[in-house]
Amino acid sequence: MKAIYILCMRQLKRYVRSPARIIGSLGQPLLFLVALGFGFRSMFAKAGGGNYINFLSPGIISMAILFNAVFSGIEIIWDRQFGFLKETLVAPVSRLEIVFGRMLGGAIVAMAQGTVVLVICVIAGFRIQNSLLVPLAILFMFLIALLFTGIGTVFGSVLQDMQGFPLIINFLIMPLFFFSGAIFSADGLPKALKFALRLNPLSYGVDGLRGACSSVYAYGLATDLIVVTLLTAILLGVGSYFFSKIQL
């Protein structure tokens, strides 16, 4: 247990000590929020969609968590390169403890980043309808963070170097974000795209978070919660498995 704690703390210390990373990873969500949020606001309202900032913000928060979580997982590659990974792999603690500490730390870091983005969204005009549901929103944020830290851990464990990183960003993470209902709703989409949205784990995270903030669900709270929790459990397991197979 102490190993989990100290490795988690390590992630947090590294996060707090690199303001460049904190500010740097705010750039993209901020850009999306301002460009899309204000760019499409009047169009969205005219089409009868209501307040676009309220619709978009949970998507942007999810995006920030998605990117940071995947990145936290993939950090294993950097630790491999700079050698610290070896130090943990020869220590007399189980791989499971190591990977849990890492994933927990990574998820908390991603959550923290998501919270910063949430504050920015509120400044931009985002309003949470029912403050009683804030814990539910936090739960969804944390589940999204864990889920994608798990995915990042799989890649970080399997890949030997950073060469594949742009591939993962462009062919996995970006599509996951764009087709998650983060920036538009599934209504009126072509059937194939609608189906893609249903297959995307992030869709349920975004929907759950949006529902908690505005009480409007596309798939329903129970579905969202069950799907995201199940997938998180599976991905944590798969991530741990691949991590336990690392050989130096």
Partner: protein, 268 residues
């Protein structure tokens, strides 16, 4: 005396390539054992298998009486290691690196604090222990790694080219401490080095490995006698030949290059 490391008929293949080819040796408790060989001979591969991070293709290993492929925890508790490449977290302070190590190895708090202070002072980093490791020079990082490997009072110390990049003063300082540990506390030391004078001076026994096979084994004096050479360096060249070895760049080397390009100027 008990055998702390026993290797029997050990083999490691990477696809077609045989990195370690049927090697056997033993190291008795409290001995300092030098594992010598040219680049790419199989030294680091052997250390990886002894230290549980790489599974052998075949053969048998016992470290402190335990099998590294099955009783990983017992084996890991038995040894401390200084890797060939740095393995510190640059974004943590020296103290935090030590503390993290102590916690991973289950060293109780009071003892941890005491030993960390003692060890960082010993390697001359006492007044820099609160600084981030990324502000350290290569030699300072090396010293910190040696201190860290000793933190949990290991029975065996694996040192993979531990003195690379250190000045003679520091090398002497570290070796005399390691010799003292081996003599007074019976710590077994298994090390690799390219400095033959160092091996000659500190090792009780050495094994010379080349192309994955052990080509000679014994006390440095015996090797010198057998090859009729005046010093161990000449004996080493007599045993392994003059050819310069090419090591293939692995994924890690390629990535380090890329990392350097991206991060501007390299961090080591």
């Amino acid at each position: 005396m008990a055998e702390m490391i026993a290797v029997h008929d050990l083999v490691k293949n990477y696809g077609e390539f045989c990195a370690v080819n049927h090697i056997s040796f033993t190291v008795a408790e409290g001995k300092i054992f030098g594992f010598l060989g040219p680049n790419g001979a199989g030294k680091t591969t052997t250390i990886k298998m002894l230290t549980t991070v790489l599974d052998p293709t075949s053969g048998k290993i016992l470290v402190n009486g335990h099998d590294p492929t099955r009783d990983q925890k017992q084996v890991r508790r038995s040894f401390g290691i200084v890797f060939q490449d740095p393995s510190l977290d640059d974004e943590l302070t020296a103290y935090e690196n030590m503390d993290l190590h102590g916690i991973l190895y289950g060293v109780p708090h009071a003892e941890r604090v005491k030993r960390i202070d003692m060890l960082v002072d010993f390697v001359g980093l006492g007044d820099r222990k609160k600084d981030l490791v990324k502000t350290y020079s290569g030699g300072m990082k090396r010293r910190l790694e040696v201190a860290r490997a000793l933190l949990h009072n290991p029975r065996i110390l694996f040192l993979d080219e531990p003195t690379i990049g250190l000045d003679p003063q520091t090398r002497n300082h570290i070796w005399s401490y390691i010799q003292q540990l081996s003599k007074e506390e019976g710590v077994t030391v298994f090390f690799t080095t390219h400095y033959m004078d160092e091996a000659d001076r500190v090792a009780g026994d050495v094994a010379v490995i080349d192309h994955g096979k052990i080509v000679a084994q014994g006390a440095p004096a015996e090797l010198k006698e057998r090859t009729k050479c005046a010093n161990l360096e000449d004996a080493f060249i007599a045993l392994t030949g003059h050819a310069i070895r090419e090591e293939e760049a692995n994924a890690m080397d390629r990535m380090r290059m890329m990392g350097r390009a991206w991060r501007g100027g390299g961090r080591r």
